[in-house]
Point group: D2
């Protein structure tokens, strides 16, 4: 089963049009990745950054918003990995309203491994590669 993080649309996530402000979806993706690290990698993303000095900035993203989210919606953000490169990971996100089978939004975020001190490219560490492998969708 792919990993899913359950989140709630918050009062402050809503914009003037009465739906979730679209940059918040990207925040939801990031929060889901943070939860994925804790649950599936076995290390909080905070520790990856603060202790291992490994950073994972987004270098490319795509998203499709099919239906609006409203205040009060609960969502499951499914996290999959499409590809693990030498120093990058291609993440896929699927946002479902709880109980629905069609996603309201889909996203792709490619993150590049960097050394946080020098901001230069850094290979995916083995412990991270092994933890991500079972989540590669085929």
């Amino acid at each position: 089963m792919p990993y899913r993080a359950r989140l709630k649309v918050r009062f402050g996530d809503i914009d003037q049009a009465g739906v979730v402000y679209y940059p918040r979806f990207l925040h939801y993706f990031h929060v889901a990745m943070e939860e994925f690290f804790s649950a599936e990698v076995g290390m909080d993303y905070a520790r990856v950054l603060l202790d291992h000095r490994f950073g994972f900035p987004a270098v490319h993203l795509e998203a499709e918003f099919r239906r609006p989210l409203r205040y009060g919606d609960e969502i499951d953000v499914e996290v999959k990995v499409a590809r693990i490169g030498e120093a990058s990971v291609d993440w896929r996100y699927f946002v479902y309203r709880v109980g629905e089978s069609e996603p309201v939004a889909l996203g792709q975020v490619v993150t590049a491994g960097i050394d946080l001190d020098s901001f230069t490219s850094r290979s995916i560490p083995d412990w991270l590669r092994s933890a991500l492998l079972p989540h590669v969708q085929t």
Copy 2:
């Protein structure tokens, strides 16, 4: 000359990695579109929403982040239109650090015209179409 909105990276835009949190780029795109409406369409986006009840939610987006932005950076966000459909607009954004000629980030956001009361599709009004036409890049 394409339209450019000048913005500043703010203290609160920075994340744990010491660079702009990537969802903030999408916020910058939106703010640049808001400024574009005031400057080039001749109507504040607030009036489009509140008086004309015309909404423009994002349905698709792509972005590429080439170099990080840091606190203190000033940026120009260039706004172009790639295509005006019957009820959608394909916007392009180019983020430059002030004084640089290579963008640090590029984005595409497709927005779909809707009636804000019914949240159903609505054609781009003529006054908006005419105002956008000179900004279509060829």
Copy 3:
């Protein structure tokens, strides 16, 4: 036992100084109030707003930040009620790092009941008053 909402400090909550950006504490207070409504009032705050058209904007706030929060911190936000007026509620928030007994931050937010359509004052409904009463600290 006073109600506590457990939250996590997120990657994007951090500012250039490496600690939680102080407006985010106010967001934490609001999220804790939202959780309080679901858990203790028995009605999601979304339903209060969308179905009952009852709004609860902040009219006064005070906060004290004793120690910084960092990325990776988990927090409990304790929610208490100091006073229920005719059309206002005086909420108190106490933010604890999980497992600590001294709060890192304290807050007071006075919210005023309004009719969301007219934005005029509205008395606290009886069902809300009864639900809040057991949380009044003495």
Copy 4:
């Protein structure tokens, strides 16, 4: 004349109640302080942090929200200094809708000087004290 920073309420600043989400006011205060540093102190706040390693976290705040702000509002945030202590500054903010003489919101933020590397108390540097003195209201 006290310093005023002109800001615009943005689409994404609005919440489910159709007004500015109250934590955004605290963000407005911070942005106004950032502008104040550039305009009145003569040094960008980014440089204060990044070059001087001087930080200024909020330790106490109070705010009063008298009237809601809506999307499309332009505001002037007036910045005053109530008191300069050995290692703290007591800032006062007054938010006016452009053209109005009564503030819609008022705020106080006490910031404490710290060394950003050790997060320990640090006296206000002389260059900052001198720059702030003319803004002390009497």
